[in-house]
């Protein structure tokens, strides 16, 4: 049975910058994943609803607006409410180190990838986690 890794990439809140998320999307696609892109300016609710309908392994949130501490905990909370906190939430963008630590330690984010991250590292991280989880599951 061949399982394709599915990833939903979303841009929460008022943030018009999508160059980064599209580059990540292409890298994941080229690594053989199915990447669904939301488009800009999505609410937390629409992102969670779409991620559930698409039944993805990974939810990637790209945020460069500075509103990450308001939006991302809300998204992980909505996932928890829906019993979908087994979906790995990855964050990319401009996130100060203290905030990144808080997102991972207190708000259920699996990993934060800051500026300068190599796309190959994101691919490796996702592949390792999905394979590992499937084996555990």
């Amino acid at each position: 049975m061949e399982r394709v890794i599915r990833v939903f990439l979303a841009k929460p809140g008022l943030d018009g910058h999508d160059r980064g998320v599209l580059i990540v999307g292409q890298a994941l696609r080229d690594a053989g994943m199915e990447v669904i892109y939301s488009g800009l300016k999505q609410t937390c609710e629409t992102i969670v609803e779409a991620a559930l309908q698409e039944d993805v392994d990974v939810l990637g949130l790209s945020i460069l607006s500075g509103a990450h501490m308001a939006l991302i905990p809300r998204i992980t909370e909505l996932l928890r409410e829906q019993g979908a906190d087994d979906m790995a939430v990855l964050v990319g963008g401009v996130i100060p180190p203290d905030d990144a630590r808080s997102l991972v330690e207190e708000h259920g984010v699996a990993r934060v990838f800051g500026p300068g991250t190599r796309t190959g590292d994101i691919v490796d991280y996702i592949v390792d986690r999905v394979v590992e989880d499937r084996e555990v599951g």
Partner: protein, 325 residues
């Protein structure tokens, strides 16, 4: 991250309207999970109620935006909608970038619209089978309309559209070759033709060209469906009443003429053939992988001991023997 799919209760949860159960079953179908087949077997008697609308046409013609507007139009009438949006999978990496949701943001807040993006994946005609399964899942899930959106650039897409009750072919005004792009094979299958982006120059000409080509298509008899040509500007909702009216008109035609039953039989046949194609090609691939029989056969072909058609007959005999075991 998620572990093994909670298969228990998936069937009951899906029928109770749990969209996560529907989403998970679709994933299982896409991955060829053998558990999915058992659930599909149970679900089948709950399907057969939805109006399935196929939407095809060249890239960039506005299919996703049309699907979104159309779904919005059906929702205003209180009907529920499922959308299956197929985008191409790279044959080189197996990956896909599925961007149809970008054009469907108006629907994102509506829990009665279930949108699923699918990569064509493509191995051995599997797309047709998986798409059909997804349609059946959304049908059993209780969606009144199921819109299936595909890229209209090849045989596979034409196959998928065969599974719909109403096939909508989307064109747009352009430099004169726009009809060429949709001509081969697809004029025959369209029940409704949409000239989208009709606010652009040349739209009237494209409509006229289409109407002329459809005129020359021989009607089976006086009462048979005459394909409609509709102008739309999907981006601002223009012409959507006409399109929704034409789609509903086609459904009424199918019901009133008694052709719905015939259409259903045709759809069942197309579905059965696509499943058989997949099973037989898989069985043939297995037979050829077999060291003794398969490789030996290929060597005999290379040595001109046996011609390809006779070799195929031998493989058929192997498959039949395997199926009987």
């Amino acid at each position: 991250m998620r572990g093994a799919a909670p298969v228990e209760g998936l069937y009951e949860r899906l029928l109770a309207g749990d969209r996560r159960a529907a989403a998970r079953l679709i994933t299982m179908v896409e991955n060829g999970d053998p558990e999915a087949r058992n659930i599909l077997r149970q679900l089948h008697r709950h399907s057969g109620k939805a109006h399935i609308v196929g939407l095809t046409g060249p890239p960039g013609s506005g299919k996703s935006t049309l699907a979104c507007r159309l779904a919005g139009r059906f929702r205003r009438e209180g009907r529920t909608v499922g959308i299956v949006a197929v985008d191409p999978t790279s044959p080189y990496t197996g990956g896909a970038l599925l961007g149809d949701r970008v054009r469907m943001q108006d629907l994102a807040d509506d829990p009665e619209v279930f949108i699923r993006s699918m990569g064509s994946r493509g191995a051995l005609g599997g797309l047709s089978v998986a798409t059909n399964d997804v349609i059946n899942i959304l049908d059993a899930f209780g969606k009144d309309y199921i819109i299936v959106e595909t890229v209209g650039a090849g045989q596979v897409e034409v196959e998928v559209v065969k599974f719909s009750h109403t096939c909508v072919v989307v064109a747009m005004p352009g430099g004169g070759d726009e009809i060429q792009a949709i001509k081969a094979g697809i004029l025959e299958i369209g029940d409704i033709f949409v000239v989208n982006k009709a606010d652009r120059e040349g739209a009237q000409r494209t409509m006229a060209d289409l109407e002329m080509m459809l005129e020359t298509k021989p009607a089976l008899d006086a009462s048979s469906w005459k394909p409609r040509v509709v102008a739309t500007v999907a981006v601002d909702g223009g012409g959507m009443d006409d399109l929704a009216g034409a789609i509903q008109g086609h459904w009424e035609y199918l019901v009133e003429s008694g052709l719905l039953e015939q259409k259903t039989i045709q759809r069942m046949k197309a579905e059965l053939i696509s499943i058989l194609n997949l099973r037989v090609s898989k069985a043939a691939a297995r037979a050829l992988e077999d060291k003794d029989t398969g490789e030996e056969l290929l060597r005999r072909m290379a040595a001109r001991d046996i011609d390809p058609h006779s070799a195929a007959e031998e493989v058929e005999r192997l498959i039949v023997r395997e199926a009987r075991l």
